[in-house]
């Protein structure tokens, strides 16, 4: 069982949990003795007053978790409680906003919104009035007699929200509600949701959001749970202390996003210390945090990704990229992160967007690519810059590996230091920043440059 590290243990919030899961797990029995474990035994509480975001790579069972907590799916073992009563015997009051909206195309907008009230036996007049009011709240005034297919994606999801909220649910579940929408619409809806939530326009006491978009989680959530997989389990569970309305460009925000990226991209490493989220102040300034964490990606992979991205018009959703490549998202993350580190692409709301430098790199032939990579690496990667500088300064132009390992050890675990150096060597060799003599475990200058350097020093003598 991997770690269940919780560094910033979530304090039991005020009031009792609305939904409490005790050791719930999900597995599918196989005809043979063994079974496929989808979710490992997990405890989870949904308490009033918070937006809880569930993040995780695909296959970590986010949606399964949502369905178990909402009572749609029964855990294979363990128990879900609704206000202390087993969920299958309780009068549960929840709604779900679905990724695909799940509206009924043969009903008009208002009929779609009225349907849940109808199921609860609300009379026609009250039903109509409440639905109309809810449509007004989500900004769909005047669209009540339209059919869903006449509306844009964003408006359809508004109907989805209206339908979910019209029953005044205690807990609002959302299953990747914004991922089928374009970037702007999603952004718009997110901020409107936040407004409804913070002004208490909706009577909902807690929101449970499943998402794969890290920024979305950090933007909305009061508490974030990151799931790992094989089988699904909680890797970290922490509170987001940045006050609303959050600024995506604020250091505290970006640091938290980076932190979650790291947790997600390194499934085998226990989550590190959570960055301090006091606005404006960074926990570790540049001097303290000497080295960036190098993502373990090969330069060839970076080139491949950039070329693909260029093919797709320079911008694409990371998850879609992974799908197209039939890559696991966890395998793609390091490559994306490496390209980002080198300034070849930018991450914007789950989209990877190629930068001019990246486009040039992808379009160049191999020698020019190496040159560009070298420039970018020396510019952006401290470790590579240091190695190169050390080699240049020393008279014999060689430096032992241990020298850098010692420096890295201050910051990373021993194992991670080794991996960091391995990646650095990989990159350095490719970009001909330096060479590495594996038999002597020493960094050396690339042969051509070494000769040049020799000649230079001889001349000087």
């Amino acid at each position: 069982m991997p770690e269940a590290a919780v560094q910033n243990p979530v304090q039991p919030a005020t009031g009792e949990a609305i939904i409490e899961a005790q050791k719930i797990e999900k597995y599918y029995a196989q005809p043979s003795q063994n079974r496929i474990q989808v979710i490992a035994p997990t405890d989870l509480k949904i308490v009033p007053g918070e937006i809880l975001a569930l993040l995780g790579p695909s296959g970590s069972g986010k949606s399964t978790m949502l369905r178990m907590l909402s009572g749609l799916s029964r855990p294979s073992a363990g128990q879900v409680f609704w206000h202390g009563k087993p969920i299958s015997q309780a009068d549960v009051n929840v709604s779900i906003v679905f990724q695909s909206f799940a509206l009924f195309p043969w009903l008009t907008v208002i009929e779609n919104v009225e349907a849940p009230l109808q199921a609860r036996g609300v009379g026609p007049d009250e039903r109509y009035e409440r639905s109309l009011r809810m449509l007004d709240t989500v900004g769909l005034d005047g669209f009540q007699s339209a059919y869903p297919k006449e509306l844009s994606g964003g408006m359809r999801q508004r109907v989805g929200f209206a339908r979910a909220l019209v029953v005044e649910p205690e807990v609002l579940f959302m299953d990747e509600p914004f991922s089928a929408l374009d970037v702007l619409t999603a952004e718009n809806l997110r901020s409107e949701l936040l407004e409804l939530w913070s002004k208490k326009t909706m009577p909902t006491k807690a929101v449970f959001l499943v998402t794969h978009n890290i920024e979305e989680a950090v933007l909305l959530a009061d508490r974030i749970i990151v799931l790992g997989r094989n089988p699904g389990h909680i890797r970290t569970d922490f509170r987001v202390e940045i006050p609303q309305l959050r600024d995506r460009k604020a250091p505290a925000f970006t640091q938290l996003v980076d932190y979650i990226y790291k947790v997600l991209t390194q499934p085998d490493v226990p989550p590190a210390e959570l960055p301090d989220q006091q606005a404006g102040r960074r926990v570790r300034d540049q001097r303290q945090m000497k080295y960036q964490m190098l993502p373990h990606a090969r330069p060839g992979g970076i080139a491949g990704l950039l070329e693909l991205l260029l093919d797709k018009g320079g911008r694409d959703d990371i998850y879609r990229l992974a799908d197209d490549l039939a890559f696991d998202i966890d395998d793609l993350f390091p490559i994306v992160e490496a390209a980002q580190l080198l300034g070849f692409l930018k991450i914007e709301e789950g989209d990877a967007a190629i930068t001019p430098a990246g486009a040039e790199y992808a379009n160049s032939e191999i020698l020019r690519q190496k040159e560009l990579f070298r420039e970018a690496a020396i510019e952006n990667v401290l470790l590579l810059r240091q190695i190169r500088r050390a080699l240049d300064t020393k008279s014999d132009h060689t430096v032992p590996e241990e020298f850098f390992l010692d420096m890295l050890d201050e910051q990373f675990s021993e194992q991670e230091s080794l991996r960091q150096l391995e990646t650095a060597i990989n990159w350095g060799r490719y970009a001909e920043i330096f060479d590495f003599d594996a038999s002597r475990r020493r960094f050396v200058l690339p042969e051509a440059e070494e000769e040049e350097a020799e000649a230079g020093s001889e001349e000087a003598e």
């Binding site: 369905r67 909402s70 009572g71 749609l72 799916s73 029964r74 969920i87 299958s88 015997q89 309780a90 009068d91 549960v92 929840v94 709604s95 779900i96 679905f98 990724q99 695909s100 799940a102 009924f104 195309p105 043969w106 009903l107 349907a115 849940p116 109808q118 199921a119 609860r120 036996g121 009379g123 026609p124 059919y147 297919k149 006449e150 339908r163 029953v167």
Partner: protein, 386 residues
């Protein structure tokens, strides 16, 4: 949205049209009422297995009427049966495979094989009335129509998108509401197209079943099928052609008056994200849509029926509790219910079989070999049997 007409004259047409349409709708209602009376009179009369068939042109409208009523009733029966069967098969995972296998076997049995037992059973079930024989024939037409409808409904239920049935579940739809707001609409398009196929199959069965011989007993019911068969038997080419022409006329009229409006109407059940540009249009449907009578009365009646139902269902246990979607209703009830159900089915089947044996004792083996009255080689019956 209605465009406001600037001219008073067109305003008058806009206003008067609905009244005319309403009148039309009312007249149709009256016609149906008259038809029912006529039919009841005929059905409740003493059984006359062999009705003399007139070859005159004037007999054709009445014969067409009888045939259409038979096909319509058989079709409605198949629709109801298909929906019940499909619904049951789709939601009872324990017997699902069995039900589908049975359906598959039944659909591959030709219509005529059902003839002797069905007619005998119906005649003995409703003795003393023409209704018995009629029901037998209707049931036979039914066996030619029902199977594809059942398959269509079943597969529609099975292909409802997961998130939509989850929405129905999380918003705690009662089975009733789920049926009318999710399952039925989702299945409508498949049912409409399959209905067209079924009714065509119904015509085929009708030609065979209105006139047949079982052993030494002849059956001959007034209808288009008998008309054409007897015309063919007696070599009356003119009547045969007239009969064929009438069938074509009825088929075209059905297409224009029933199927096209239905297809155009069912367009709203299309499961699509954007509105498609080319749609089937139907002037009849447009006319009907403008009828205030049709627009308000059925909706009001429906609301009267549905509202108390909704309120009662909302209080029931079924809907106040959340039911996990990955467990079917039958799991909860456990095995006992199933064994009880299977036992009841077995007992009923045994009883029916014994009854059938008693009934068939009077019928010799020769009777079971069905022969139409010496059909000439070009008749429909012989085509069917080829």
């Amino acid at each position: 949205m209605r465009i406001q007409h600037p001219f008073a004259r067109s305003l008058i047409t806009v206003r008067t049209w609905p009244v005319v349409i309403d009148l039309g709708v009312g007249l149709c209602g009256l016609a149906i009422f008259f038809g029912i009376i006529q039919m009841a009179h005929y059905w409740m009369g003493a059984p006359v297995p062999v009705m003399p068939i007139s070859h005159s042109l004037r007999a054709l409208p009445l014969y067409s009427f009888y045939s259409i009523v038979r096909i319509t009733l058989a079709y409605l029966l198949s629709l109801v049966f298909a929906i019940c069967y499909g619904y049951f098969a789709a939601y009872h995972s324990r017997i699902e495979a069995w039900m589908i296998a049975v359906l598959d076997i039944l659909q591959s049995i030709p219509v005529l094989s059902f003839l002797p037992p069905v007619v005998l059973a119906m005649v003995s079930l409703v003795p003393g009335h023409q209704l018995g024989i009629e029901l037998g024939v209707i049931l036979l037409i039914f066996t030619g129509q029902v199977w594809n409808l059942a398959f269509s409904f079943y597969s529609s239920l099975k292909s409802i998108p997961r998130e939509m049935s989850e929405a129905a579940r999380i918003y705690r739809y009662s089975a009733w509401q789920r049926f009318w707001q999710l399952e039925m609409p989702f299945a409508t398009i498949g049912l409409v197209w399959n209905s067209i196929v079924s009714v065509a199959g119904g015509w085929f069965a009708l030609m065979l079943c209105e006139m047949f011989t079982m052993g030494d007993r002849n059956f001959q019911l007034p209808g288009l099928g008998s008309y054409m068969q007897s015309a063919a038997d007696s070599g009356d080419v003119r009547s045969l052609l007239l009969g064929i022409f009438t069938v074509i006329l009825i088929v075209v009229a059905t297409d224009q008056l029933v199927w096209r409006p239905l297809i155009a109407w069912s367009d709203k059940f299309k499961f699509e994200q954007v509105e498609s540009a080319d749609r089937v249009t139907s002037p009849i449907l447009e006319l009907l849509r403008r009828s205030p009578l049709l627009n308000s009365v059925p909706a009001k009646i429906w609301a009267k029926l549905e509202e108390p139902m909704n309120r009662r269902l909302a209080r029931s246990r079924e809907t106040t509790l959340a039911h996990p979607s990955d467990e079917h209703a039958d799991r909860r009830k456990g095995l006992m219910g199933y064994w009880a159900f299977a036992a009841v089915v077995a007992i009923v089947a045994c009883w029916a079989a014994i009854q059938a044996v008693f009934m068939l004792r009077s019928v010799t083996w020769a009777d079971l070999r069905l022969r139409s009255k010496a059909p000439p080689p070009h008749s429909f019956a012989s085509i069917r049997r080829c």
